[in-house]
């Protein structure tokens, strides 16, 4: 699983892509991931120079290599305007994948090595980034790089894509207007967990909380948190709190099924009128992003029973992102349920776009009108019929479906 993010490289190294050059579709996808990436980079490159002016959405990036000494810096596109949308994950789910990757890879990453503890006593550069991480309106900026920014774009299953990077020599932002709710937290010495929950309950959007958290603006002995870790930390913290609330609510009355199909991924969410348990099951059939060579469908899953789980989910950050999306809905309904989230990636899911996509796709499902059933078996059958993957594969790949079908409950033997 750890190899996920290097898969495109592996393909390239194995020679497959070299023979194909994006013309024969040897990898089984409807578009070549390397080409999509390349085109986006070219578009940015055309306008790049060592002295750059642009409007940061605002955005920041905290790297993880070399931890606890990591690269941080602003994200700046090579143009000015109302660029806020470029760093608001909540608005991306209706985009098509090419436009999305194009938009994200036009964000140039400034880089400067700092120690994660420096967040407690930031210099001018770091303080500026912290302010930007807490701001909602774009920040017109001027950046002077050592050389013309270039290099690999960041694409991975956890983080949203980022464009080329360059060592930053000087960074001159225009005025930054910080979100008042986050600013207040910044001066309160609240533990990070409480800060995150407080902001979430105040209605601050996930992506803004996560960005500010990653820059070490919360917590008592705050540190910089690499972007990809911060996403899961915030998903986990918020969703754990939601689940705690859910356990006090009565069960839903009837089984229901929600569905969403965006960006080459089908998500189906089954809610059963039972006590809280949760699972995310993913199916990658041959030819899909992470199963390009396989001959059989590849199923992965992680689950928790009522008591929750202590160790990190096998399938990664998407587990926590989907838990947040279903948790929100149940808290809004003030109901408890057993939740099974099924995901099937389609061949047109040509490259990983980041864990935000799981959160927003499941949120999109939970906003849809559910199908409501009288009977749990009907609900499960309907849910499994929404996919290309056969029913049997889902059942074998899912702990909770397996339990649902085979494990009886005591009330099933009630003599009336």
């Amino acid at each position: 699983m750890k190899k996920r993010e290097n898969l495109v490289e592996q393909l390239a190294k194995s020679g497959t892509c070299a023979i194909c050059k994006g013309t024969k579709m040897l990898c089984g996808k409807s578009e070549c991931p390397l080409l999509v990436r390349y085109y986006s980079m070219l578009k940015t490159k055309r306008k790049l120079s060592a002295n750059m002016e642009g409007s940061s959405p605002p955005g920041v990036f905290v790297g993880r290599y070399g931890y606890p000494k990591v690269n941080v810096g602003p994200l700046i596109p090579p143009f000015k305007g109302n660029t806020e949308y470029m760093d608001i994950q909540e608005n991306w789910i209706n985009m098509n994948i090419e436009n999305f990757v194009d938009m994200r890879t036009s964000l140039v990453r400034g880089m400067k090595k700092v120690r994660v503890e420096d967040a407690q006593d930031p210099d001018y550069f770091l303080l500026t980034l912290q302010e930007m991480s807490m701001a909602e309106k774009h920040v017109d900026s001027e950046a002077i790089f050592e050389k013309v920014p270039r290099g690999r774009v960041v694409v991975g299953s956890d983080v949203q894509p980022y464009g080329p990077a360059g060592k930053i020599e000087k960074f001159i932002p225009d005025t930054i207007k910080v979100n008042a709710k986050i600013e207040k937290i910044y001066y309160d010495e609240l533990p990070a967990r409480d800060s995150i929950l407080h902001l979430y309950n105040e209605g601050v959007r996930f992506s803004l909380i996560q960005r500010a958290f990653s820059m070490g603006t919360m917590g008592v002995n705050c540190k910089l948190v690499p972007t990809r870790w911060s996403i899961t930390a915030v998903d986990d913290t918020i969703s754990k709190n939601l689940v705690q609330k859910i356990k006090d609510f009565p069960l839903i009355d009837k089984p229901m099924v929600f569905k969403s199909n965006k960006m080459g991924n089908i998500f189906v969410v089954i809610l059963l009128p039972r006590h809280w348990s949760y699972e995310l099951v993913e199916a990658w059939y041959p030819g899909t992003l992470w199963n390009p060579y396989g001959k059989r469908t590849f199923m992965v899953s992680s689950h928790e029973f009522y008591e929750g789980r202590k160790d990190y989910a096998e399938i990664g950050g998407c587990y926590y992102a989907a838990r947040l999306a279903v948790g929100e809905k149940l808290v809004k309904m003030r109901r408890q349920a057993e939740v099974i989230v099924l995901r099937e990636a389609l061949p047109d899911y040509i490259m990983p776009v980041g864990v935000w996509h799981v959160r927003e796709n499941v949120r999109n499902a939970m906003r849809s009108v559910p199908r409501i059933f009288e009977d749990e078996n009907e609900a499960v059958s309907y849910a499994l019929s929404q996919f290309n993957i056969p029913k049997k594969a889902w059942i074998e790949g899912s702990t909770l479906l397996n339990r649902f079908l085979h494990q009886r409950r005591l009330e099933d033997f009630e003599i009336h």
Partner: protein
């Protein structure tokens, strides 16, 4: 309310309940103490009845106590074996006194704790088996599969597990069992993790009485608190095929 008991007995009751729940409603009256709990998945249930004779002191009206068992477990960690614990209720507070140590905790609102209905089951076969043997059968299965199958025939009791390649089997003939009554063979499969936790928590009993049917819940009966109490544990079966 004032109860005095061996720490060992409190520990046994708490550990048994903790295999299924983290909160429970205890009922005390002139006869003793009783508690019922069902796990959140509704797969297993335990009913414990402890006679007042199990207590060193038993001075109480009829009471319902909603107790956070995780907190009780923390208290048990502070005690040594052989200690006596005195439990008293004052308003909405439950106080544990062990030696010179006092630890109190708020009671949980009992209306928030559902008391499970004990299903009425017809279980045609019965065996009485030494706990040690039962434990063996379960531990052998644990590393092989998530499930264990139990079978009673007129001549023997059998526990077996089939993994992809591995297999474990424990057979006890009739004459090595304390009791066996069975007219037709019965067989059911159960989730092994529940039984693993259960046998770890059983402390006083030397033997367990098993009641079973085919594709039906199992009922295990065993002694608690040194024979002055009794527990009943019900576990729903797994059914193969759709």
């Amino acid at each position: 309310m004032r109860l005095k008991m061996d720490i060992k007995d409190l520990k046994e009751i708490t550990n048994l309940l903790l295999t299924l729940v983290s909160e429970a409603k205890f009922e005390v009256n002139g006869d003793g103490l009783s508690v019922k709990a069902v796990d959140p998945a509704h797969v297993a249930m335990i009913v414990i009845n402890v006679s007042r004779d199990a207590f060193l002191e038993f001075d109480t009206e009829e009471e319902e106590l909603g107790v956070d068992l995780d907190k009780v477990r923390d208290i048990l960690k502070l005690a040594s074996s052989g200690d006596i614990v005195e439990i008293s209720k004052d308003g909405n507070k439950l106080t544990f006194l062990i030696g010179n140590l006092t630890r109190s905790m708020p009671l949980i609102d009992t209306s928030a704790l559902s008391v499970p209905k004990v299903p009425n089951l017809v279980l045609p076969a019965k065996v009485v088996i030494p706990l040690k043997e039962f434990e063996h059968g379960i531990k052998a299965a644990e590393s092989i599969s998530d499930n264990i199958t139990l079978r009673i025939t007129p001549t023997e009791f059998e526990m077996y597990t089939q993994g992809d390649e591995d297999e474990a089997r424990l057979n006890i003939p009739r004459d090595m069992l304390k009791d066996l009554s069975c007219e037709e063979p019965v067989k059911s499969m159960y989730p092994v993790d529940y039984l693993v936790k259960l046998v770890k928590a059983i402390d006083s009993a030397d033997s367990v009485t098993i009641y079973m049917g085919t594709d039906y819940p199992i009922k295990l009966e065993f002694e608690v608190t040194g024979g002055k109490g009794k527990a009943e544990y019900l576990l729903a079966p797994r059914i193969e095929g759709e």
